[in-house]
């Protein structure tokens, strides 16, 4: 009697494309192989390993034997497998062609004694196979009893008729799961209904991987999977924090959540969730992202040279895609750690609809005042009327018919950070302002649609409406208050022309930012001007109703004239009504698959973005509405080499020149005060450049291991000395090395470690100080900008996860220890009151974070 089981393996693709398997193919039609009679007589056994190419429709396109068990077994296995049918696999949520490895095991067993079937009195055995802990249905599992076998369906259900009478051993076999054995009594004429909870071999990581044929269009894109993200030490499982460990991303001072990509200021890098721009990536200080990483399907990061579908940024690009909520049962988790608590619930609503709700709330506002109050006299302590608190929430409902390439979703998500501090002794401020507050919040309601219009033509739409609120205040008379209702529309039609080896995408990408801003503050002093306390009291106010519209239109073409060559080219048109400017950005990327495992790549492109309007740079009184869009020219060449199915190397060199950068103006040199000055607060005269090399040696997530080594060698320079020459940028970080690995140990332990080494931050030394007798403080006199480099940074983080698997739920304990060596890393320099003494400010000491998480 032959016996077979399915194994899905990671396989490379000819075009080097990478995607994430979001739905494994399930076997829906299994044809039993003919056991070669001669071999049966001889009692022989054997295992044939084959490679199957499945089409996007799940049909077997091609089968090859990779490990032979002899010609007769091979032939029998090939005959059977060619007749198999699978459900379509999905890569990144879209049905895709995949390649599988399939083992067919011929195991000779004596044929059972034939019994006369009695249809009226047969024993029926039915039930459902689910995974222990997650209750996820196990499709494709094989249930064996009394010489009978059946493969479970997608929903994990099975039914066997004619089971032999009496007590029988039941065996369940499934890929990546421990063999399950049970004994059942079968009585003719009765149905035995069971639910078996089968244990996964290893929890908390390594599932099987299929790298699908998702079209790869970005030359410098790195994609991460949910399972990888969860295991990276020092990130608390937060997807967006993982980005800070990738090549091209500098470490921000104190490890706060600023993305400094290839030397660009944080404003130059934009983050999108479901193609919707989100204005705030991290809560206070970079503790956690404002979007729950557990709802993500995948996360991609491009440090530069990205294609025309995205504009309005000259630095990097972060794209997160939310996943379809569970269509197989009610699932969720609750997580409690030292700073916040979060929970997620997801469930199917019907065969095609499913929904998810998650929420997170910090409790720093409850703990911090109590802690401070216990140690510090009330009148001297910082008094929080609203202590630091943050919250975020996500709701998503999605319609996605099984095995269809269309979907529709509605999601609503948002984030809120607030803080209000009351100083009991506001003597530093002559006006006695002792109350300081911040409030930053955003909300987005998104509607998305993926719809095949015709054969080879698809349509994708994302439309969102949001509410952004930013409020800063000091006392009652200094404030910045901005409210924006961003409306974003993205419509993309893609037409595939197989005969021309061409795919064309035409996209409309419009961002409207209606809103109002009220700003009342002292006048803007020049960059090198000593603030005048008397001028500071002459407040300026600007109330502006904004109606900025940033229309964008792009045409993207992917052309593969020969299988080894792919050209991605496009052009993007953008504009901004506030500045009254429009621009055109052409971009080109080329992939050349020189050999099967080697791909060369190159890209060139033009990028523009509006100046940082959040800082008021486009305001009439505080900025300059006539600024130009900031620009960048980006060039990149590189190569990708795949050594094994799991190990790859990506090396790239880049050069980025910055022009028309917004920069604050400098004070006048001379003491000539005979005429009124008319100089502006900002001008578009800044320039800079960044160049370097990035290396990523990566081991993809397999059953037990994943990890990577990322190294960036870079140089970033900006204009200094009144724009006359280049000087090192404050964001320059020549060396940045991250090595991380995670390994699954027995008994559901997972151990991970991360090492980070970077060059020290740059700082500007002070050459003296001037005592301001009116303001009663010392104003430092600056030396050469960014001419001193602080000591290098090194940190080792370790994470240990332990999972307890119960029948219907799991309990995970994790210990995430940052800075295990307790190294005193230098983050900044502090000075005494007159800048004659200085000392290093060091970062966090060893910091263990213990968390508990229940999943069901």
């Amino acid at each position: 009697m032959p016996f077979a089981f399915l194994v899905v393996l990671a396989l490379g693709q000819a075009d080097g494309g990478a995607g994430v398997l979001t739905k494994a193919p399930a076997l829906v039609r299994q044809v039993e192989a003919r056991f070669p009679p001669a071999l049966a007589d001889a009692g022989a056994s054997g295992t044939v390993v084959m490679e199957l190419d499945l089409g996007a429709d799940g049909k077997v396109l091609d089968v090859r034997v990779t490990t032979s068990a002899g010609a007769e077994f091979d032939l029998a296995a090939l005959e059977a497998v060619r007749q198999f049918e699978f459900t379509p696999a999905e890569v990144d949520g879209v049905p895709a062609a995949v390649r599988l490895s399939y083992s067919y095991e011929f195991l000779f067993r004596p044929a059972p004694v034939a019994e006369v079937p009695d249809a009226g009195l047969e024993a029926v055995f039915s039930g459902r196979i689910v995974e222990r802990g997650t209750r996820e249905p196990l499709g494709g599992a094989i249930v064996s009893v009394g010489g009978l076998e059946v493969v479970t369906g997608d929903d994990g259900r099975f039914e066997l008729r004619g089971v032999p009478e009496g007590q029988q051993q039941v065996t369940v076999s499934a890929v990546d799961h421990a063999r399950y054995v049970e004994r059942e009594d079968f009585v003719p004429g009765t149905r035995t209904e069971v639910t078996y909870h089968v244990r996964r071999e290893v929890y908390g990581g390594g599932e099987t991987v299929v790298r699908g044929k998702k079209e790869r269009k970005e030359v410098a894109q790195i994609s991460l999977r949910q399972e990888e993200i969860r295991l990276i030490p020092g990130t608390q499982g937060d997807a967006f924090k993982v980005i800070q460990n990738l090549p091209g991303v500098a470490r921000a001072p104190f490890g706060i959540g600023l993305l400094v990509v290839r030397g660009s200021k944080p404003w130059d890098t934009r983050t999108y969730v479901d193609e919707t721009f989100i204005p705030l990536l991290f809560h206070f200080g970079g503790l956690f992202a404002t979007y729950n990483a557990n709802l993500l399907q995948d996360l991609s990061f491009s440090p530069g040279s990205f294609g025309v579908p995205y504009g309005r940024s000259i630095g990097g690009l972060v794209e997160a895609t939310a996943r379809t909520p569970s269509q197989k049962g009610v699932h969720g988790y609750a997580d409690v750690n030292v700073v916040d608590a979060s929970a997620l619930v997801e469930m199917p609503l019907s065969q095609s609809w499913s929904a998810a709700v998650s929420v997170r709330r910090s409790y720093i506002d409850i703990l911090l005042p109590a802690v401070l109050g216990a140690f510090v006299k009330a009148k001297e302590a910082l008094s929080f009327t609203v202590a630091p608190r943050y919250a975020d929430w996500q709701v998503r409902a999605e319609w996605k018919p099984p095995d269809a390439r269309k979907r529709f979703f509605v999601s609503y998500f948002g984030s809120s950070d607030a803080l209000k501090v009351l100083l009991p002794n506001p003597a530093l401020d002559p006006e006695g302002r002792g109350e300081f507050g911040t409030f930053i919040a955003y909300q987005r309601a998104v509607v998305g649609l993926d719809w095949p219009l015709a054969d080879g033509v698809s349509y994708r739409m994302r439309t969102s409406v949001g509410l952004d609120q930013v409020r800063f205040s000091a006392g009652s008379d200094l404030f910045a208050d901005a409210t924006t209702v961003p409306v974003q529309m993205r419509h993309v039609v893609t037409r595939e022309l197989p005969d021309e080896h061409l795919a064309l995408s035409l996209g409309l990408d419009v961002l409207a930012l209606p809103g109002k801003v009220s700003l009342q503050s002292p006048p803007v002093f020049k960059l090198d001007q000593i603030p005048d306390p008397f001028l500071s009291r002459q407040l300026i106010r600007e109330d502006a109703a904004q109606s900025a519209v940033e229309p964008g239109l792009f045409l993207d073409a992917v052309w593969k004239p020969v299988p080894a060559l792919k050209v991605v080219s496009g052009v993007r048109f953008d504009g901004d009504t506030t500045m009254g400017k429009a621009w055109v950005d052409p971009r080109l990327a080329v992939f050349w698959n020189v050999f099967e495992p080697t791909t060369l790549k190159a890209a060139a492109g033009l990028y523009h973005q509006p100046p940082d309007y959040r800082q008021g740079q486009l305001l009439q009184k505080f900025g300059n509405p006539n600024l130009k869009p900031e620009g960048a020219r980006q060039l990149m060449v590189g190569a990708e080499q795949r050594f094994t199915e799991a190990i790859s190397l990506d090396v790239q060199f880049y050069y980025k020149s910055l022009f028309d950068q917004s920069r604050q103006t400098l004070a006048l040199d001379s003491g000539d005060v005979s005429t009124s000055a008319t100089d502006l607060n900002y001008t578009s005269t800044g320039f800079g450049r960044s160049f370097g090399m990035e290396v990523l040696l990566r081991h993809q997530l397999t059953k037990n291991f994943f990890g990577w080594v990322a190294y960036s060698l870079s140089r970033t320079e900006r204009d200094y000395f009144q724009g006359k020459q280049y000087g090192p940028s404050p964001l320059d970080q020549p060396h940045n090395l991250v090595a991380l690995a995670s390994y699954k140990l027995p008994f559901d332990f997972i151990l991970g470690a991360k090492i980070r080494y970077t060059s020290g931050a740059l700082s500007t030394p002070y050459v003296g100080a001037l005592y301001d007798a009116n303001g009663n403080y010392h104003f430092p006199l600056f030396g050469t900008p960014n001419s001193r480099r602080l000591p290098d940074f090194f940190q080792l983080d370790v994470r240990l996860d332990k999972r307890f698997v119960f029948k219907d739920w799991m309990l995970a304990l994790y210990l995430d220890v940052q800075n295990v060596t307790n190294r005193r890393n230098v983050e900044a320099v502090s000075y005494n009151y007159d800048y004659t003494q200085q000392q290093y400010v060091t970062g966090l000491p060893i910091l263990p974070v213990l968390g508990v998480r229940g999943e069901w």
Partner: protein
């Protein structure tokens, strides 16, 4: 503890610096103009509170003035860091930057404003009422330099061979009727006790004392301020005190006079290991009062860390001076432990104890008017007693 907690919450911290309030070498603590505010065509006398505990001789100060910016845009060579970095070099070569003038030396300094300052603005221009600032630089060096060798001051600042402090001070210049004046300090309170001018503040080792400075009621001047929306708001000045001492620590380096927060002075020799008891148990307290509109005032007082283990001074007799210039002589026991003799509102000046005769003597302060005053005795043992007889001032 607060610091440790904040370090834990925010980031790691290094060793603490010496607090700003501790004066250990040359410091400019405040500058005052009289009058505090100018009209075009007027001039102000400038004085600075400059202290250097390392030297007995006073520091040298060179005063420089810059032309006010009539447009009120804050432009001035005196406040341009690029110019200031080269100021010493320019001064030592005798070539001051454009718009910078020499206006005084040591305690003789005057800043004058041209009568035509606002002539570049039309009559009725609101900028005339809003005003501008005249900017002054005071270069103080911890050395004694003769007036005829001004270039030496710049050279010493440039070379860094002695400590130097460059101070920027602004004087409001505008038109209009209302004029800001300097605040007037009233009582200096230490541990709830008003310290008579010339007397020591008595503090105990290891025991904090609440310190406070009072100002006359007229010092809290009313004024109007035009808001950005054009509304005129009536306000009353806030007076902020800034405290300094040659040793010891303050809980609040700065404090508004109307604040309900207490400022506590921890005398030297307490828990802070870097703040030992001075050899003579003495030190100086300084307080600078600012009204945030350009008005400034200073006050200083000596303090003494008393010792209850010492003998208590007892006065038996007090001489009666026949003229104001006569020395007042006290006789009794343990008069070497007598710190201050307070006659009415002030302490006797030039106190001296003659160990040979066991007598204590002092002089009548100039401000003390004719009359009979009870004598308060303040001992180094922390005692506060009275003499059995009064002092008759002729």
């Amino acid at each position: 503890m607060k610091r440790a907690l904040l370090c834990l919450l925010l980031a790691g911290c290094g060793e603490a610096f010496l607090p700003e309030t501790v004066v250990v070498d040359l410091r400019v603590l405040g500058v005052k103009a009289e009058p505090a505010e100018l009209r075009p065509g007027e001039a102000a006398t400038l004085t600075a509170l400059v202290k250097d505990p390392t030297r007995s001789a006073p520091p040298t100060i060179v005063w420089l003035g810059c032309d006010p910016d009539p447009f009120g845009q804050g432009r001035s060579a005196c406040s341009n860091p690029t110019v200031l970095q080269d100021l010493a070099s320019a001064g030592s070569s005798g070539m001051l930057p454009v718009g910078v003038h020499l206006i005084g030396f040591n305690d003789q300094a005057r800043y004058a404003v041209s009568k035509d300052l606002f002539s570049v603005l039309p009559e009725g221009d609101p900028r005339r009422l809003k005003g501008t600032v005249g900017q002054v630089l005071a270069l103080a060096v911890a050395d004694t330099v003769p007036p005829d060798q001004l270039g030496e001051v710049f050279k010493k600042v440039q070379s860094g061979e002695v400590k130097a402090v460059v101070t920027l001070f602004r004087i409001v210049v505008r038109e209009g009727e209302m004029r800001n004046t300097n605040p007037v300090p009233a009582r200096l309170l230490v541990g709830g006790e008003a310290i008579a001018p010339g007397a020591h503040a008595l503090v105990k080792q290891g025991e904090d004392s609440v310190v406070a400075l009072e100002a006359t009621e007229a010092s809290f001047e009313p004024y109007t301020q035009t808001q950005p929306d054009g509304t005129v708001e009536s306000k009353t000045e806030r007076l902020i005190s800034a405290w300094y001492s040659t040793s010891g620590r303050f809980s609040q380096p700065r404090l508004a006079l109307d604040s309900d927060v207490e400022d506590r002075f921890s005398p030297p020799g307490g828990e802070e290991p870097k703040d030992p008891l001075p050899e003579r148990r003495e030190g100086q307290l300084y307080v600078v009062l600012r009204d945030a509109r350009g008005g400034n005032a200073f006050r200083e007082s000596a303090f003494y860390v008393c010792d209850e283990g010492r003998a208590r001074p007892v006065v038996r007799t007090v001489s009666t001076p026949s003229t104001r210039d006569d020395v007042v002589v006290l006789e009794g026991e343990h008069l070497e432990q007598l710190l201050d003799v307070v006659a009415g509102p002030v302490a006797l000046e030039q106190p001296f104890f003659d160990a040979a005769s066991g007598r204590w003597s002092g002089r009548i302060p100039k401000g003390l008017v004719k009359g009979e005053y009870p004598l308060g005795l303040r001992g180094k043992d922390c005692s506060r007693t009275s003499a059995p007889v009064s002092l008759v001032v002729p």
